[in-house]
């Protein structure tokens, strides 16, 4: 599954392209529309989980927290604190606890920020354009691109969604 990004110059074109996509067999749950906060999207499908940075931040938190927890566990194994014997289970437990704490904290923080993957489109969205994303299968990509170019030439096709940066700016 790849996420194709399209920029619509206005609401009318956005509505039209969403209608075309639905007619082409795409389920509404695979279509996301993002606009400036003061623009009413009304009947367009909202951005859902793509609106904030929760998931990328959560994944980073799990990975970094887990790594830090494992490291702390290994340090405790090598240098037992105050005579407490830490075994392999203890190292694992501290690793899992680190991952869960990392996920918890960064997830909460990430939910407060707009999606870092959509940074590239921020200027266009601020300028009043509407970002439409649609999940398509890899081998359908050319077909969908051609279809949109043919039916809605005003829509700018921006290609595949950029990956989340490791460190959000």
């Amino acid at each position: 599954m790849k996420r194709l990004c399209l920029l619509s110059p206005d609401l009318e074109h956005a509505r039209a392209v969403v209608k075309d996509l639905k007619e082409a067999g795409f389920d509404e749950k695979h279509i996301y529309a993002i606009a400036r906060s003061d623009m009413p999207l009304a009947d367009l499908p909202d951005a859902g989980p793509e609106n904030d940075d929760f998931l990328p931040a959560f994944e980073r938190g799990i990975a970094l927290g887990g790594a830090a927890g494992l490291f702390a566990g290994l340090v405790a194994l090598a240098f037992p604190p105050a005579g407490i014997v830490v075994g392999g289970g203890g190292v694992l437990l501290i690793g899992v606890m680190g991952a869960s704490l990392g996920g918890l904290l960064t997830g909460m923080a990430g939910a407060a920020f707009p999606s870092s993957r959509l940074k590239a489109f921020e200027k266009d969205i601020e300028a009043g354009k509407i970002l439409i994303m649609v999940d398509v299968l890899r081998d359908q990509l050319d077909e969908v691109t051609d279809l949109i170019e043919l039916i809605e030439p005003a829509i700018e096709i921006e290609g595949i969604e950029p990956p989340a940066p490791l460190i959000p700016k």
């Binding site: 749950k29 859902g48 989980p49 929760f54 869960s100 918890l104 997830g107």
Partner: protein, 33 residues
């Protein structure tokens, strides 16, 4: 997935993390007496 479903999923993930962390803390506390 719409916004309300996404918020529900996020909350569940955070809750799961909190449960795992607190369980770990409880195990450590019980082990240390």
């Amino acid at each position: 997935m719409r916004r309300s479903e996404a918020a529900k999923r996020n909350a569940l993930l955070l809750l799961a993390c909190a449960v795992v962390f607190l369980s770990g803390a409880a195990i450590i506390a019980a082990t240390l007496g």
